[in-house]
Symmetry: C2
Subunit: 435 residues, 2 copies
């Protein structure tokens, strides 16, 4: 297995902007058939509750559920799984969970207020959401790290009830996923998936209480269902394919950089790996490493297609130019594998997660460094942030006027309300103005 043609670009080329645009072009394809199927599932679950959930689950996951209790499992099932996995894996999950928890503690937002000279109090009260649903894919794409990354921020935020759904095709569940849920502190588990699970979380059923927010990755049915219930409940972003952008000064081991690019490429065929480097010889060396290391990978067929279709090795004039291009791309993962990465950091404007220095492999961030691995893809780091505690908290403005404050503010409000033709607003303020 090898990848003969990894795209080579030069930022100095006249047509570079155009080539870059083509390289990055990716848009989620809307699928009318999927949308119609999902709409029907949502409507059925909304109106018939558990009965519809059971029907779809039996059909799509080849199960024989007779009543809702069979898909609603208590926390003891999670704890049992914890006892079944190997000690090394359990330790690794616990270390990762502890680090993720510690990092996310720093994100917790606190209520604040201030008092003005006339006694008026202004502020913002922060509260956690009450119930959150976490979607976890079943089957082969079953990732325990994803359970930790989605559930822990919700728990740190103080969400009352974190509920997890995971499909169990033919009744089968992944022990590592269940163990991760136990470690993360998931409160309830439902072994359902697909659009029917999203519908149950969004609208509630006799067994499953409706949640305020649904997070977590899923297939096109799950993504379409999340998009459809958006507004009724909150959702996290709909992720595109995973991407890495590596900026290297040409001094890091070529094998290290090549493996970092491959670790992205092995995710799926649409994943994107890009290297920006001023040193042409180094780029050549990385390409040689890529070919050699690719051949030894179990998922070489996926990585090879990803490299051939979507990767690029780009020669830049300078690290400055690399940063400028990186800000335009707004990558999900940005590795800055250079001698003094701290000097470049202030110039990084758009990126989901930034990995500084030669020792910080992107893979460490996927599992256990501490920051979240749910990150904005497809250039959305221009306006989105990593999943965090802030995604499970919300804010309420607080205004408490003293009589003096109401008098002063009332006069301003009356003028502005009348300028907008809203007389009841003006009179409501006027009642509190001193005669």
């Amino acid at each position: 297995m090898n990848s003969k043609s990894i795209r080579r670009l030069r930022a100095a080329d006249k047509t570079f902007d155009k080539q870059l645009e083509q390289l990055l072009a990716w848009e989620a394809v809307a699928n009318k058939e999927v949308e119609d199927t999902v709409a029907e599932i949502l409507q059925q679950v909304r109106s018939r509750g558990d009965a519809a959930v059971i029907e779809y689950t039996n059909r799509f996951d080849r199960r024989e559920i007779a009543q809702a209790e069979e898909f609603a499992l208590g926390p003891e099932v999670l704890v049992e799984a914890l006892g079944r996995i190997g000690a090394e894996e359990r330790d690794a999950l616990e270390v990762a969970a502890q680090r993720v928890r510690e990092y996310h503690e720093h994100q917790r937002q606190e209520s604040w207020r201030y008092t003005e000279a006339d006694g008026t109090v202004l502020g913002q009260q922060i509260t956690p959401m009450e119930r959150v649903g976490i979607y976890v894919p079943g089957g082969k794409a079953s990732y325990p790290s994803s359970v930790l990354m989605n559930a822990i921020p919700a728990k740190v935020a103080g969400v009352d009830s974190v509920m997890m759904v995971v499909p169990a095709p033919e009744g089968e569940l992944n022990d590592l996923v269940l163990a991760a849920a136990a470690i993360a502190g998931v409160d309830r588990l439902y072994t359902i998936g697909g659009a029917q699970a999203v519908a149950a979380l969004a609208y509630g059923t006799e067994t499953i209480p409706a949640v305020d927010k649904i997070v977590g990755p899923g297939n096109i049915f799950v993504a379409t269902a999340k998009r459809a219930v958006f507004g009724h409940v909150a959702i996290d972003m709909i992720a595109g394919p995973s991407e890495i952008l590596v900026i290297c000064d040409g001094v890091t081991e070529p094998d290290w950089i090549a493996m970092d690019l491959l670790s992205q490429a092995e995710h799926d065929e649409q994943a994107q790996s890009i290297l920006l480097c001023p040193d042409e010889e180094f780029i050549d060396a990385v390409e040689v490493s890529l070919q050699r290391l690719l051949a030894e990978l179990p998922r070489a067929h996926i990585a090879a297609k990803s490299l051939a279709d979507r990767a690029a090795l780009i020669q830049v004039d300078s690290l400055e130019q690399a940063l400028e291009i990186s800000n335009r791309i707004a990558p999900e993962h940005l590795e800055v594998s250079v001698a003094e990465p701290e000097l470049l950091l202030p110039k990084i404007r758009n990126a989901g997660a930034i990995f500084l220095g030669r020792y910080t492999a992107e893979a460490l961030g996927d599992y256990c460094a501490g920051p979240n691995h749910v990150l904005p893809t497809s250039g959305t780091a221009r306006f989105s942030s990593p999943l965090g505690v802030y995604d499970f908290q919300k804010r309420s403005s607080i205004i408490y006027c003293s009589p003096e404050g109401a008098d002063k503010l009332g006069r301003v409000a009356m003028t502005l309300a009348r300028g907008e033709g809203l007389e009841a607003h003006a009179r409501s303020a006027a009642f509190r103005v001193k005669r």
Copy 2:
């Protein structure tokens, strides 16, 4: 003009939960025809740029624009408007802007980091978005306060370029709106509106640079267009009708409470005003006030319909019960007009903005108290927050591993990556592990 039948409910009734559900029922109606029209406009502007914007603007706003320069106005136009408005209105706008700015300064988030014992650095870098577009409705629903509330948080966040679009039907613009834009520090003004303005902001044209986020209220074409470009750019929430919930202990002046309810009802016929109070006689008194005060309002026809269709005066057993119902409703505006509102505050879980005490008319928050008036509607305060500075900032995770940190974390990551079958991830971590 009077409103004969304002709905009366009692929380003690057996059917109350059902009645409450019906009272709150409101769902944005999807309109296939509007969606198709908007899709066509988006596609035309995306592919033909300024030419399409000019065509649609001439058609929908009855204008005769020949070239893009005619709709792209510089900041001098804003400053001129500032000279044309009355001194009282200018003062009021400036006081309001200053207060809004001061409040929002408290929301600015700062980057943070910490260093672990082995030298590994973790943190989060906060950066503002580069370009933001603010939609401001034209014609009769032209609200200068909305310009302040949308533009000031973006400016406080440090957004490089705040661009405003406002339609100018027959070429006409509202001086108060332009003056508010000048005071808020809007950088560029385009006199275009509708789906074509949203498309221009989302995709960019020869004249208008593409933005990262679009905020601000608009009609159904604007809302549908925002929903359609969501994901390509960020958007604020799609607002439902405005609502107020007043919790009163029965001691505030009934006229004050009635006018607060009316100030919401005058917004539009779908607006919702609800009173929760344990005192039946007080509720009677508020109803009498409502009838009397309503008759004197210029927008009485709108307020009367809103009261008849969507309002409710609800008798509760206690203030405790009122809070419980309020948390279920998750109102946009919550007035707590009681003797000791601070005692109730910690129990308020879901609300956009909380107005404490008898002197804090909701209208003060609409204009000049300081907090934002763009708030989550239709129960979305369960999971959404007021528009704020945080909506124009984004976060990037930072990971900078020391060689020791990479060794320690690499071992954990290898175990977890192999548990997920991702060998390139494991090897990428392994390269940094000490032999």
